[in-house]
């Protein structure tokens, strides 16, 4: 893209944003700032869930449409762990571990035997998602499960400058998302396993030729990706509650975040999550009737002009 075009696109995007920000601040500053925080915190949740999805796709070209069911599984298990042990951190670990185990089982027993058949793998994940969702509803029932935040995150933070008060737990999602994002980046870029994963994303055949146990790397990646979904589930169980049907909602959100940001890129997932989270919350605050249509239109526009997402790699 030439310099002139870059300047043009920057202006096209930046000018309306600046103008709208100015208008929003002078119209109702509290609403504007609260919505901004809401958007970023929601984006953190989406990022945590979507990062697992993009990791799995980036390495194995496997579109895991059972990602939402893993979210649900992790959330329910985290809920029951918290109920029995009273510890939210233990619940986080339990949710991560449960989803990681199930993901590992799926990779080792099913996906390992259909390398390269992308559409077939996708269809299998669709079937798995239906089956897992129904088993969960059978075992746990259709009741709403609302997890409580830990006592040190309960209640609002009061006496804030413009916005008066904000939910502590919701606010804590932001540092949590950043921590997980940085940890993931460090894992991918500063460890040996991460190096193998990145090499595999670029060229699977060469990785195998270099003597690495590719199946082991795949299994590890799938387990981590699934575990991140479960972790997101436990976090979401507090903020958004667990109910059958959450799986499709979060799956759709993950898909959008990853597509906008670019498949296979963790930084892309962060950017995509920020765009999507902010668009959704600003839409709900200022134009609720067509807010969701608006967010999907953004997705369509991004894909129409950058078919692989903002930071995407070839499929």
């Amino acid at each position: 893209m030439t310099r002139a075009w870059k300047v043009f696109w920057t202006l096209v995007i930046a000018v309306p944003v600046v103008v709208l920000t100015a208008w929003g601040l002078q119209d109702n500053a509290r609403l504007f700032v609260v919505t901004f925080l809401n958007g970023l915190t929601l984006a953190s949740l989406y990022f945590i869930v979507a990062s697992g999805f993009t990791l799995v796709f980036g390495l194995m070209r496997n579109v895991n449409l059972a990602h939402g069911s893993l979210y649900l599984l992790g959330g329910y298990l985290g809920f029951f762990t918290a109920q029995f042990s009273g510890s939210w951190l233990l619940a986080l670990a339990a949710g991560f571990a449960a989803a990681a185990l199930v993901g590992l089982a799926m990779q080792v027993s099913i996906f390992r035997f259909m390398p390269g058949q992308d559409l077939r793998q996708t269809m299998v994940t669709i079937g798995l998602s239906i089956v897992i969702a129904d088993i969960l509803m059978w075992a746990i029932g259709a009741q709403v499960h609302q997890m409580s935040p830990p006592p040190w995150l309960d209640g609002p933070i009061r006496n804030l400058p413009v916005i008066r008060a904000y939910s502590t737990y919701r606010f804590s999602l932001l540092p949590l998302g950043i921590v997980i994002g940085v940890a993931l980046w460090l894992f991918l870029n500063r460890t040996r396993v991460g190096m193998m994963i990145r090499a595999g994303v670029d060229d699977r055949a060469m990785l195998a030729a270099a003597g690495v146990n590719v199946n082991l790397v795949f299994a590890t990646t799938f387990a981590i990706g699934a575990g991140l979904a479960g972790l997101g589930g436990v976090i979401g169980a507090v903020e958004l509650s667990m109910v059958p049907g959450e799986d499709t909602r979060l799956l759709l959100a993950s898909l959008i975040v990853v597509i906008v940001g670019g498949m296979g890129s963790v930084v892309g997932a962060a950017i995509g999550a920020a765009i999507f989270g902010l668009a959704e919350t600003y839409g709900l605050a200022y134009a609720p009737t067509y807010s969701v249509v608006f967010t999907f239109v953004i997705l369509v526009l991004v894909l129409a002009f950058r078919p692989r997402g903002i930071l995407g790699r070839p499929a």
């Binding site: 509290r30 609403l31 609260v34 919505t35 809401n38 929601l42 809920f79 509803m137 029932g141 259709a142 009741q143 709403v144 499960h145 609302q146 997890m147 409580s148 935040p149 309960d154 209640g155 609002p156 009061r158 008066r164 008060a165 904000y166 939910s167 502590t168 737990y169 919701r170 903020e239 958004l240 509650s241 109910v243 059958p244 049907g245 959450e246 909602r249 959704e280 919350t281 600003y282 709900l284 605050a285 609720p288 009737t289 807010s291 969701v292």
Partner: protein, 415 residues
């Protein structure tokens, strides 16, 4: 050997003939009456759907599975709150399983679609489950679709006055953007606006949204209360997020906002719910002996159900009871296109655990509504106590039919 074998074969044939004769004799008795039962067992109202099946089954069990000398056969079907799925399930029950009477569906828009289908099957009687949209019986009613429960607007009668009595002069409405909340908001605002209340902001949330942070941010500082008409998981989410964000305004609930299936969500009981007023066809702490007997029966038959039957259980129970009482009146006679049965249904006064129900000209119920308040019992369970009981609520809410407008996003309005 040969003669032994011949004897054996002859005995066998004789036994078969005798058994056949007895079976034929058995068929000479009255055939069972087949009743189709449709509720949402998947999707957003799955929990309500499960309880509605319990309510309907209770009505059958109270009669030991027999009505007017005929055995009752219930054939269940499921939908997911989508009209086309509901119509497909209904069509299967009616045309494939050949039910005589159809009871269902659960949600508002399904009811309208099933009503349209009922017009194509004039010789089957359709009785509502719990669908509460006004348009089902008010606009283009069907001659063989009967609704023995009051609709969403009727359920909110009395709440407007109760809100003003509590001192809420300005209320913000937060409700989902579809037909059932429209009718609930209309039921509330018709009375509230007439008595001088003001509704400066109405926030219509798209269906399926779980993130209420933006709506909460829009709540103006000067409203006295929030009228929240959300159901299922959405209600739990909103209440949770509102409290976490430091909100402390009192809440006026819709009928499904503080129903038992919500008050029993798994998680810490929210103190903020105590004191919420709502309008509903059911009040958990209603003292009348018929209602207490109903609750005891429910608890005895369904130990895995809720501590107290939910709105869905009661309403399905009422409609199934109407089905069976009607059969009793005509002594199980469903001949001649079920004409006698329908006449009996249209004319009867149904005795329900919460009062008497009669049908109006559109085969819509005129019944009882409660204004309730949420309280906590000694074990820490939340339930609804009765603030006021209003009888003979009709579908046009006391407004002359020519002036009555079905609720929508902009109707009624009193900023």
């Amino acid at each position: 050997m040969e003669s032994g074998k011949r004897t054996f074969v002859r005995t066998l044939v004789a036994v078969v003939v005798v058994v056949a004769a007895f079976s034929a004799g058995a068929f000479a008795q009255a055939p069972p009456v087949k009743i189709g039962l449709l509720a949402t067992l998947e999707g957003p109202f799955a929990a309500g759907g499960q309880d509605s099946m319990r309510g309907a089954e209770l009505a059958v069990r109270q009669r030991n599975g027999v009505v007017a000398g005929r055995k009752i056969e219930i054939i269940k079907a499921s939908s997911d709150a989508k009209p086309d799925v509901a119509v497909n399930a209904t069509r299967k029950l009616v045309e494939q399983d050949k039910v005589d009477i159809m009871v269902g569906p659960l949600s508002g828009s399904e009811g309208i679609a099933v009503k349209e289908y009922s017009k194509t099957q004039p010789s089957i009687t359709f009785i509502n489950g719990s669908s509460g949209a006004q348009a089902t019986t008010l606009v283009n009613p069907s001659p063989n679709f009967f609704r023995f429960n009051t609709d969403g607007g009727q359920w909110m009668v009395g709440v407007g006055k109760a809100a003003l009595d509590k001192g809420y002069k300005k209320v913000m409405v937060i409700a989902e953007d579809y037909a059932f909340p429209y009718s609930q908001v209309q039921g509330f605002m018709t009375e509230y606006c007439k008595l001088g209340g003001k509704v400066p902001v109405k926030a219509w949330v798209p269906l399926g949204g779980k993130d209420y942070a933006s709506v909460i941010a829009r709540i103006p500082k000067d409203v006295d209360a929030l009228a929240v008409v959300l159901g299922g998981a959405d209600a739990v989410n909103f209440l949770n997020q509102y409290e976490q964000a430091g909100g402390d305004k009192p809440i006026i609930g819709g009928s499904i906002t503080v129903s038992q299936d919500i008050l029993n969500y798994k998680g810490k009981r929210r103190e903020s719910l105590v004191g919420t007023i709502a309008g509903s066809p059911i009040a958990d702490a209603y003292e009348a002996p018929e209602f207490k007997a109903f609750v005891a029966d429910y608890k005895k038959n369904f130990p895995d159900g809720y501590p107290s039957p939910s709105l869905f259980a009661l309403v399905y129970y009422i409609n199934m009871k109407a089905t069976l009482d009607g059969l009793d009146i005509v002594k199980g006679d469903l001949s001649d296109g079920q004409k006698k049965y329908r006449d009996a249904l249209a004319k009867m006064t149904l005795k329900t655990p919460v009062g008497d129900v009669k049908l109006d000209g559109n085969r819509q119920a005129i019944g009882t509504t409660f204004v309730t308040e949420v309280v906590k019992d000694s074990q820490g369970n939340l339930y609804n106590r009765v603030l006021k009981k209003i009888d003979n609520v009709n579908q046009t809410l006391g407004v002359p039919p020519s002036e009555f407008k079905v609720g929508s996003r902009d109707e009624p309005n009193c900023p």
